[in-house]
Symmetry: none
Subunit: 199 residues, 4 copies
DNA sequence: ATATAAGCGAGACGGTACGTCCAGTCTTGGT
DNA sequence: ACCAAGACTGGACGTACCGTCTCGCTTATAT
């Protein structure tokens, strides 16, 4: 649909707030009414553009090599890379605003976008649990949300989202922060052969 | 300032997007120009109202009883309670939108609001580290962001933020998700030497 | 058009300067943009209202009974009567201001309004010339302007425009002021040869 | 007063409508309140500037050489010249608008400006009547108003005010337009040795 | 093959809010 | 004590969009 492509272009040029339905219609060379016939709001247009892949979302890659930490690192790296593309962070912010403004958009996004993205992440975590890499009593949904939450907050607060930061987040989520007084041998520390894991 | 109180009231009544500077001026019984003289944007008004305490942010209580987990539970409970107040979640969403719309607002919020809130949280974490309750190599800033991030995404995605959910988040962050003490054989550790583990 | 009627009413109530486009739109129950779509300025609205007859201009009646002086007297009387109507003088002043403010309005008024009004007057004068009642070398356009000019200045200077005053103007224009028939000696004519008489 | 000079400058630069009291105060380097202390309105400022000679009015010269027509021609020429100066016509229009907007300004102008200007013209006409050059029953005030009225209307209608036009006006007012059937000898025509009198 | 209708572009419409300018009043601080 | 400086409420400016509403002009079916 020309409207979605026009919306994408204008979103990049102007940002979400300055984006107007009128401008989308004009740019797309279609009537305003046609837009209203298909979408309820500005947020709905952007959401659909994302879900339809016209705006390519800050996609990420989740694979399963059997090594949980490595896979999650790879995933976080791909997220960082996706957001580092021009307009990547702006798009995530736009989606956040669209979601905050419109409950329907929120639902569509969490079901659609996260339905692809988060589900893949969850699957990897489930596999990790089955492989005994993840404690059985951990809530995997919470884990996924915690990981993405750290990313979202970083972007919303306009802090630079670097690979290092991603590593630190991963370290917290994988290892927790509590010191284990019962495990002074550092049995699992030795296994952590990544000296830069918490740079 | 009457403007800030009017902004607060209208924010609760209408939400951030529907909030207009004209309405704030009318409600406050002041001239529109006066608002423009003091604030650059709608976001700036809300930010100042929050920082000045006219809008009381979803504030929280952080105390130090020496028991880290209990203190963090108490803190998260207070956050949940604050957001459960009428307009609490809407306010957080409004702040997120304000921050996403206006870089200056982002900075002011992260420095001001988190400067009080997050700093207190960080202090508690530092105390915990000194007390040996937190691993020395953990990045405390990341920890704080991860905790708040989980809260923020939950609210932004309009999922119910319950005490249970808060407990689960805390469990992940405190304990991590990796199973360790029961798995001293390092069954999956062999993979750790994958050369591409941190690509 | 509702806008023109609203403009007319408000012009009478408030006067030209206090008249606002916003008030016209509100009174007419139309959007402000609609007004801007059709007219460039406040002056243009008033001008069109006059030309369309929504505001009926201080119209006058010019007939041809063959008796020049009587016809002009009748015309002037009708002008006086028209201006004596409530808002009549105010309207003329408003038109003067509109014309003074906006060159386009000036043109429209002189071509449109005077195009009807002045043309009729000119026609009567032409008929008078053909009938030998008016000197052949008199510039009729100048004559018409002189008559209306006397009326306009009177109104602009807020002097009472009475039938008596109209009669006096007519006397000047019809007869001239120079005493002639009784002064055939040309007592002051000797000066006529002054070389600088028309510097 | 600096305010009057600032008003004059801004009047030339911007025109009457675009002239603002705020701009006058700023330009004059004085407080707005000071202006309101001395003048009631924008019109009042302009009027006083004219009356005080800060804005020099389209002044004219009326002399008495004994030759009525020549003197009036000379006067009209000086009026034409004054209005031909840059901003001359604009000033007259501004005064017309000021007068139309503000009754007090009208009075001040007609008493002040015309008190100098018109009085001199009236005096010349009175002298002409005493010399028998003007019919005894002519209303001299009306005559003066008719002459100035023709000038004012010409300027307001944005028609070019030329010497030729002034001559034609003078011809009408001096000679009248009616042909004199009882004076076929053309006694007074011969005296009119100005072949270009009605160009 | 022609009539009917459905979808579309275009854009006018009544509105709301924008951000700016100025009116006219009031307060403050320096001379 | 005055006055420049300028903040204040109020209100109009002219613009941008909103979401609704006709308009004609395609196309595309259904008679």
């Amino acid at each position: 649909m020309a409207a979605l492509e026009a919306a994408r272009d204008l979103l990049v040029e102007l940002g979400y707030e300055a984006l107007s339905i009128e401008a989308i219609a004009t740019r797309a060379g279609i009537g305003k009414q046609t837009i209203y016939r298909w979408w309820r709001s500005k947020a709905a247009i952007i959401v659909e553009a994302v879900l339809e892949g016209i705006i390519d979302p800050p996609g990420s890659v989740i694979i399963d090599t059997g090594h949980l930490r490595a896979d999650l690192e790879r995933w976080l790296d791909s997220v960082v890379a996706a957001l580092a593309r021009p307009g990547g962070e702006a798009l995530l912010r736009a989606l956040a605003v669209a979601g905050a403004s419109d409950p329907a958009a929120t639902r569509a996004l969490t079901e659609g976008l996260s339905g692809a993205e988060q589900e893949a992440l969850l699957n990897r975590l489930r596999a990790g649990r089955q492989a005994g890499q993840i404690r059985a009593d951990v809530d995997l949904k919470t884990t996924a949300d915690t990981l993405t939450g750290a990313v979202v907050v970083t972007v919303l607060s306009r802090a630079p989202l670097t690979t290092e930061r991603a590593r630190k987040v991963l370290d917290v989520v994988l290892n927790g922060i509590e010191s284990k007084p019962t495990d002074l041998t550092g049995s699992d520390r030795g296994l952590d052969s990544h000296p830069d894991a918490r740079l």
